[in-house]
Amino acid sequence: MTSLPAPSDVKLGLVIDLDTCVGCHACVISCKEWNTGGYGAALGDQDAYGDAPVGAFLNRVHTFEAKPEEGPAAVVHFPKSCLHCEDAPCVTVCPTGASYKRAEDGIVLVNEDACIGCGLCAWACPYGAREMDPVEKVMKKCTLCVDRIYNENIPEEDRVPSCVRTCPAGARHFGDLGDPDSDISQLVETRGGFDLMPEQGTKPVNKYLPPRPKTVTPVPELPDLTDLAASRAEEKADGFFGWLDRALEKL
């Protein structure tokens, strides 16, 4: 049913720390690897070794520049995947019921067997979180690694989304954002986590943590080296170099 369920108590999601992300794309590759062998059809690629390769990815890392009126610009690496919105417009537009939000934990999923590949859900998502698989012609999206997080056949430390498990910088966190006392909610609270595009009214569950302000180091007063060079040039050298200078002048 593509009507949205009543808001769940458990809201599983990600918190992404823009301060610590180094932009290595390890989460992108790890996501592609896990989800090619896991939930649903493999994540397809076309012309993978050709001139114009395209493929479906559930997670992509952009790099942005934020330039203030004065002072140096900041560079921010920015991973982006499904935000598992509470008011998910991608779910309600689906004509077949393939797109749905789970009542128990809020994860937004696609039942690929019922997807007709119309693409309307991708049009409804402001974040670009959904991509049509170029081979299978069904809609692909982040599953929050639903096949890992509840999987009792893998070690407990692996029961987090693949991107979180792989991030070498510790910039990705997973947990229950519906519980205000959870570690992840506390992290959002203390670091001032925010929503992407709040004006779209989607109420995303995933939050982003802002880059910490840069420490302003005062620039030490340095002598004007151009003047120094000019005054030095007028000085007469003495000793061996003085003799060499005079000898060369005479040539």
């Binding site: 049913m1 395209v54 520049e65 934020a66 330039k67 537009v93 077949t96 049009w123 709040p198 009214g201």
Partner: protein, 306 residues
């Protein structure tokens, strides 16, 4: 937004088809049941255009063999409602056609056909009008625009059939001219509102980094293309946009208006009505191509293309 030919054809053709069925229904309701040539040509065109549009709309699906599933989610989805309503309308119009065939007046079924036809066009328009992500589409005028173009198409086709069958000019071509005029008036207003509205989402709101300064993308996530850029990144060049709007207005607005007015004054009415129909539908194809091509999607704020 990527202008898919199947969807452009679908919205123009089914709009005209349902518009014509609505015109036939209203004619019967007002005591002028379509008979003879008008009956046969009217229903063949009405069913043909709306049916062809609906079939065409399945061509852009990844899995057209599962299209029947799209009838299940009418509680939440405008796309699903559109499918259900289109089929219901064609069924009711079928009953209406049968009643006329056996000599009935078909007033009730005609009115029902007209109402359902227009509700179907409304639900088509809401597939686009509901998308907050495409600001140009999420205007309250979007359904008004689709409905006025469908009404103008229907009135124009019905008037042409009457003129060809019975000759003479008269009130119907004038009515068609009036509806064409209104439809393009709505379109011009829709264009102006879309052009003037400040962007709802910006790179700053998309990244939440606005407090740090002006935001622009430094590096794209991939060197190659992707589905998002192909589907949502399509953008018509500004200079072509202005030119194409003029072509659409001239072909779909000015020409049919002059032709229908000439027909209403009795100047070669049959010929001028056919010219009006061809020009109007041709102009609508250009207008619908622009409807997609000039619409910008919020996700492109992440790609320096917003």
């Amino acid at each position: 937004m990527h202008p898919a030919y199947s969807i452009i054809f679908f919205t123009v053709s089914s709009g005209a088809g349902f518009g014509l069925l609505a015109a036939l229904g209203l004619a019967a309701f007002f005591g002028l049941p379509p008979l003879g040539v008008v009956y046969w040509a009217g229903f063949i065109l009405g069913f043909g255009l709306s049916g062809a549009g609906l079939i065409s709309s399945t061509f852009h699906l990844g899995h057209p063999e599962r299209a029947w599933r799209a009838l299940s989610q009418w509680r939440s989805s405008w796309l699903s409602r559109e499918g259900v309503l289109a089929i219901a309308t064609l069924a009711v119009a079928g009953v209406f056609a049968l009643i006329l065939l056996i000599g009935g007046a078909g007033q009730i079924w005609g009115l029902l056909t007209a109402i359902l036809s227009l509700v179907t066009v409304y639900s088509t328009s809401m597939i686009y009008g509901q998308l907050k992500t495409v600001q140009r589409w999420s205007q309250s005028l979007t359904p008004v625009m689709f409905l006025s173009f469908a009404l103008a198409s229907g009135a124009l086709l019905y008037a042409s059939l009457r003129v060809i069958a019975y000759g003479g000019g008269g009130i119907l071509p004038t009515l068609a001219a009036l509806l064409i005029f209104v439809a393009w008036g709505v379109k011009l207003l829709w264009w102006r509102r879309g052009d003037e509205a400040p962007a709802l989402s910006t790179p700053e709101s998309a990244t939440g980094l606005g407090h740090m300064g002006r935001v622009r993308m430094l590096e794209a996530p991939h060197t190659g293309g992707n589905y998002l850029l192909k589907e949502m990144g399509y953008k018509v060049a500004r200079k072509h946009q202005a030119k194409l709007r003029q072509i659409a207005i001239a072909l779909g607005g000015a020409l049919p208006l002059v032709a229908t007015l000439l027909a209403s004054w009795g100047v070669l009415p049959g010929l001028f009505m056919v010219i009006a129909v061809l020009a109007f539908l041709g102009g609508l194809l250009a207008e619908r191509w622009l409807f997609f091509a000039e619409a910008e999607h919020a996700v492109m704020t992440y790609y320096n293309r917003g």
